[in-house]
C-alpha cells in the first residue's frame, strides 16, 4: 500500500483496531430501504396530484365558461347540464352580427363589439402615454441629478397606497363639469392616474439597472443629452418599455370601477361594463354572457400567454430582489 507521510500502512488488516458496532444492522437496513422506496413513490404521487390540482384550478372555471358559450340557449338551461354538447356558435354570431349593422343597440349583446373597440382605443392610448411619459420621467429620475430627483420617486411609490376609490368622486365631479363623462378621453385620463405613478417608478428602477457606460460613450462621441436618451437609452430599455406598455394596457382593459361610473351612457361603452351588463339572471342568457366574456378576455389572455416567460422571469427576479 502507499507510503502515507510518516505512516506506512502495511497491506494486511490491522490487528489492533478496537471492535466497533456496525453503523446499521441488517434488519434496520432492510426497513430503511422499504421506507425509502415508499417515500419515493409517495413523492411522485403527490407531485401528480399537485399538477392535476393546479390544472383543475386554472382550467375548471374556463371549462365551464367554454361549455356554456358554445351551447345553444336551450342546452345551457338543461338540468342536469349537458357536458359534451355539439359545438354551437349562435352566441358568437349574435354578438358579432351587430358589429356590421348601423342600427342602434337593441340588446346588451350588441354592446360587446363597440365595447371592445372603445376599450381597445382607450387601452392603447393609455399604454402609449404611459410608455412615453413614464420613460422620460423614469430616465430623468434614474440618470439625472436635480432637486427632487430622489424625493419624488419615493412619493410616487407612496402614492401606490392610494386606492382608486379615493379618486372616484373627484374624477366624477370634475369630468362631469368638463363634459368629459361618457367620452373615451375621460376614461383615458382616469386610467392614467392609476397607471402612471407605478410606471414611472418601474421604469426608473429599470433604467437604474441599465449600465450607464454605453450612454457615457455616446456622450463622449458627441451626442447631446436628448439624443443619448432617444438613440441609446430607449432602445436598451425596450424590454422594460414593453412590460410597461403591457401593464398599462392590461390595467386599462380590465378596469371596471372608473369605467362604470364615468360612462353611464351606451355611446362610449367600454368592454368590462358591457359584459357586466350581460349578467342578467332573469334573462337566462348565460351563453351570450360567456361568449362575450371570452371575447373580452382574449386580448389580455393572449398577451399574458405570449409574454409569460418574460413576465414570469421579471416577477421572479423582482421578488428575489425584495
Amino acid at each position: 500500500m502507499s507510503a502515507v507521510g510518516d505512516r506506512v500502512v502495511t497491506g494486511g488488516a490491522p490487528t489492533q483496531r478496537p471492535p466497533r458496532a456496525p453503523l446499521m444492522s441488517d434488519a434496520e437496513r432492510a426497513r430503511m430501504r422499504r421506507r425509502r422506496a415508499f417515500g419515493r413513490r409517495l413523492r411522485r404521487v403527490l407531485r401528480w396530484f399537485a399538477v392535476a390540482a393546479m390544472c383543475v384550478w386554472v382550467f375548471a372555471p374556463f371549462y365551464f365558461l367554454l361549455l356554456v358559450a358554445f351551447q345553444t340557449k336551450a342546452d345551457s338551461l338543461r338540468t342536469p347540464p349537458v357536458w359534451f354538447p355539439k359545438p354551437d356558435f349562435s352566441n358568437f354570431t349574435k354578438i358579432l352580427d351587430h358589429a356590421f349593422s348601423s342600427a342602434p343597440a337593441a340588446n346588451p349583446s350588441d354592446l360587446i363589439v363597440p365595447g371592445i373597440r372603445n376599450s381597445a382605443i382607450v387601452a392603447i392610448s393609455v399604454a402609449l402615454l404611459n410608455v412615453v411619459l413614464g420613460a422620460s420621467a423614469g430616465y430623468a429620475f434614474a440618470r439625472l441629478r436635480f432637486r427632487g430627483s430622489r424625493a419624488i420617486p419615493l412619493a410616487l411609490l407612496g402614492s401606490q397606497m392610494v386606492p382608486a376609490f379615493a379618486l372616484l368622486v373627484p374624477y366624477y365631479i370634475v369630468l362631469r363639469n368638463l363634459g368629459l363623462t361618457n367620452t373615451r378621453l375621460g376614461v383615458v385620463i382616469a386610467e392614467l392616474s392609476i397607471t402612471l405613478p407605478f410606471t414611472i417608478w418601474l421604469l426608473r428602477s429599470y433604467f437604474s439597472n441599465v449600465p450607464v457606460d454605453l450612454e457615457r460613450a455616446a456622450r463622449i462621441d458627441g451626442c447631446g443629452r436628448l439624443q443619448t436618451f432617444l438613440r441609446v437609452a430607449l432602445p436598451l430599455a425596450r424590454p422594460g418599455l414593453i412590460a410597461v406598455g403591457l401593464f398599462a394596457f392590461m390595467v386599462s382593459w380590465n378596469d371596471f370601477l372608473f369605467q362604470v361610473i364615468l360612462n353611464s351612457n351606451v355611446d362610449a361603452i367600454m368592454i368590462q361594463p358591457a359584459i357586466a351588463g350581460l349578467y342578467n339572471v332573469r334573462e337566462q342568457s348565460f351563453g351570450i354572457m360567456a361568449a362575450g366574456s371570452l371575447l373580452a378576455a382574449l386580448p389580455t389572455m393572449v398577451f399574458a400567454l405570449v409574454t409569460q416567460r418574460y413576465l414570469v422571469r421579471g416577477l421572479m427576479s423582482g421578488a428575489g430582489k425584495v
Binding site: P170, D255, V260, R309, A319
Partner: protein
C-alpha cells in the same frame, strides 16, 4: 443613482447644450404635471368635497366641515361593513397564501413540463374582476349552474343548492374567486423565493440528521417570511378593495349581507347621490388601506433584520 454628466469645470458650459437640471426637469415635467394633475389634485379635491354637502350642478355647496365623517363613522351600517370587509380580506389572504404556498412547494422540484405549467399559471391573473364575477356567478348559479349539476350527478347533493341566498356563502364564493385570481401570482412569488434557498443548507441539515419537517421549519420557512408578507399585502389589499363582484352579483345584498365598504361608498354616492358622504367614506377607506400597508411594510422591514 448613476449620473452620466461628465465632470467639468463649473464656469464653462458646452455650447448649445442644455444644463443637466433643465434637461432633467424638461423630461420629467410632462409626466410630473400629469401625475400632479391626475393624482395629487384629485386627492386634495376629494378631501375638499368630503367637507361639503354636495348637490351636483348646484352653484354652491353647503359647508359641513367634518359632519360627513361624523355621520359616516356613527352610521349603523359602518361597523358591520367594516367588519365584513376585514373578514373578507382575511379570507382572501388565507386562501391565497395556502394555495400559493402549497402549489409552490409541490412545484419546487424540476420535472418535465414544469415551465409549461408556470406559463399557464398566468392565465387566471390576466382576467379582469368582471370576468371573475361572471364566471363564478355562472358556476354557482342556483338553477342552472354547472357546479350544482356536477354535485347532483355525483350524488353529493339531492337538490340544487341556492348558493346566492346566503350572504355569507356568497362572500365565500367571491373570496374564492379573488383567491383564484391571485393564487397563481402567489405561487410564482413563492417559487422564486424557494429557489433562492442555498442548497448547501439543506445538505448540511441532512448531514446533521434533521428530518424533512424540521428542515422545512429551519431552512425554508424563514426564507419565505418576506414573500409571505408580500403576498399578504397583495391579497389583503385586493380583498379590502373588492368591488366588481359585488356590483355584478349581489348589489350589496341579500339585504346588506354583502355590503362591504367599497359598495357602501359607491351606493351612497352614486345611487343615493350623497357625494360628500361618499367621498368621506372613501377617504376613511384610504386611511385604513394606508394603515394596512404601513403595518405590513413595517413587518416586512423587521423580517429583513431578523
Amino acid at each position: 443613482m448613476s449620473a452620466i454628466s461628465l465632470p467639468r469645470p463649473r464656469s464653462r458650459r458646452r455650447r448649445g447644450e442644455v444644463p443637466e437640471s433643465v434637461f432633467g426637469y424638461g423630461l420629467v415635467a410632462p409626466a410630473l404635471l400629469v401625475t400632479l394633475a391626475l393624482l395629487a389634485y384629485p386627492l386634495g379635491y376629494s378631501f375638499w368635497v368630503s367637507l361639503h354637502d354636495v348637490t351636483l350642478g348646484a352653484a354652491h355647496w353647503r359647508w359641513v366641515g367634518l359632519d360627513n365623517y361624523r355621520d359616516v363613522l356613527s352610521d349603523p351600517l359602518f361597523k358591520p361593513a367594516l367588519l365584513r370587509t376585514l373578514l373578507f380580506a382575511f379570507a382572501v389572504t388565507v386562501v391565497t397564501l395556502a394555495v400559493g404556498l402549497g402549489f409552490a412547494l409541490l412545484l419546487d422540484d424540476d420535472f418535465r413540463g414544469r415551465n409549461l405549467l408556470r406559463g399557464i399559471l398566468i392565465i387566471p391573473w390576466s382576467l379582469s374582476q368582471v370576468m371573475l364575477a361572471l364566471t363564478f356567478g355562472w358556476i354557482f348559479n342556483s338553477t342552472y349552474g354547472p357546479l350544482n349539476g356536477l354535485l347532483k350527478q355525483f350524488g353529493v347533493i339531492d337538490e340544487y343548492v341556492a348558493w346566492f341566498a346566503d350572504g355569507k356563502v356568497v362572500m365565500g364564493i367571491m373570496a374564492l374567486g379573488l383567491a383564484w385570481n391571485l393564487a397563481p401570482l402567489a405561487t410564482l412569488l413563492f417559487l422564486s423565493a424557494l429557489q433562492t434557498v442555498p442548497r448547501e443548507l439543506h445538505k448540511a441539515a441532512l448531514v446533521d440528521g434533521a428530518g424533512p419537517l424540521r428542515r422545512f421549519a429551519l431552512i425554508t420557512l424563514p426564507w419565505l417570511r418576506e414573500t409571505v408578507l408580500i403576498v399578504t399585502i397583495l391579497a389583503a389589499l385586493n380583498g379590502f378593495l373588492v368591488f366588481a363582484p359585488i356590483y355584478i352579483l349581489t348589489g350589496g345584498g341579500p339585504g346588506t349581507d354583502t355590503t362591504l365598504l367599497s359598495w357602501w361608498g359607491y351606493e351612497t354616492g352614486f345611487r343615493n347621490l350623497h357625494l360628500g358622504e361618499s367621498a368621506a367614506i372613501f377617504y376613511v377607506m384610504t386611511v385604513l388601506v394606508g394603515a394596512i400597508a404601513l403595518l405590513t411594510t413595517w413587518a416586512l422591514g423587521r423580517s429583513k433584520d431578523a
